[in-house]
């Protein structure tokens, strides 16, 4: 079987747009990678995350369809505001879609939830002029 494309152009556009919206909302960098892991999927996700431009303020979602796993890696700055338990709950939102083979819907769901989680909390006392 030859290597095909996992996403149609429309699906790619939707995911790209979701990432742009998430970055605008949260002020963090979002990355999503769908593909095979080189061995352990968590370690691969950490390797990918460390290779981005600003790992500390980045969120990476690594989907390995062969291992049926999703790894979400948050940088050090992100982790100050986003609890890992909340990240795990966000990961649950895409589980149903992934089980149905709908990677686009799953990715869109988790990106939106992570963007909401990473959104900076507005303090009315200090943010209001």
């Amino acid at each position: 079987m030859s290597a095909g494309n996992a996403f149609t152009p429309i699906e790619r556009h939707e995911i790209d747009r979701a990432i742009r919206d998430a970055e605008r909302l949260s002020g963090r960098d979002f990355y999503a990678h769908v593909g095979r892991s080189a061995g352990d999927s968590r370690r691969t996700a950490l390797a990918l995350h460390s290779a981005v431009a600003q790992p500390a303020s980045s969120i990476l979602i690594h989907v390995d369809p062969t291992q049926r796993s999703v790894e979400i890696v948050t940088g050090a700055d992100v982790r100050e505001t986003v609890d890992d338990r909340h990240v795990a709950l966000a990961g649950l939102s895409m589980q149903t879609a992934f089980e149905a083979g709908d990677f686009t819907r799953g990715l869109l769901a988790v990106i939106q939830q992570l963007a909401e989680l990473a959104r900076p909390v507005r303090n009315l006392h200090t943010d209001t002029p």
Binding site: M1, A3, G4, N5, A6, F7, R12, I19, D29, F30, Y31, A32, H33, V34, G35, R36, A38, G39, D40, S41, R42, R43, T44, L46, A47, L48, H49, S50, A51, V52, A53, Q54, P55, A56, P65, T66, R68, S69, V70, E71, I72, V73, T74, G75, A76, V78, R79, V82, D83, D84, V87, A88, L89, G91, L92, Q95, F98, E99, G101, L107
Partner: protein, 144 residues
């Protein structure tokens, strides 16, 4: 009303409606074609989202950018013990990471080993509190 007319009205029209609904439901999946599903038979190429198109194209041209093994592409002694390495491509965009051209990037090309935190099927687990020796990254692992 003849028998034929009755048959057309009371059987033909509902049948047409059923066929139309079936086509509308199945059309999107048919349009997608033979999309690869998850599992061992996954054959699709890796895809990056959130990276500039030029970097994506280079990543597609170099699918072996991620190499396993402590000796692949970087001196592991300088980054601690780890199993996976993102290889640097000297002079190329690969050494800047997926979004290296946004802010100049750097020479970062090695992942720190934060330990595997996998659980069984349909399991979810946060990863920060399990290994105190890991770096500052957090996150979660989800299986489906």
């Amino acid at each position: 009303m003849s028998t034929l007319e009755g048959l057309l009205i009371f059987a033909g029209i509902p049948l047409l409606i059923v066929v139309a609904i079936t086509v509308m439901v199945m059309a999107p999946s048919l349009a997608k074609g033979n999309q690869p599903r998850s599992g061992r038979n996954w054959q699709a190429a890796s895809e990056w989202f959130g990276a500039p198109r030029t970097v994506r194209a280079e990543a597609a041209a170099n699918p072996h950018q991620i190499e396993s093994g402590p000796g692949a592409g970087y001196n592991p002694a300088s980054a601690g013990d780890h199993d996976n390495v993102v290889m640097d491509e000297p002079g190329g965009a690969g050494d800047r990471g997926p979004r290296g051209d946004r802010d100049g990037g750097g020479d970062r090309g090695v992942a720190t080993d934060a330990g595997a935190t996998h659980t069984g099927a349909h399991a979810v687990r946060g990863t920060s509190a399990e290994d105190p020796s890991r770096d500052q990254t957090g996150g979660a692992s989800v299986r489906w």
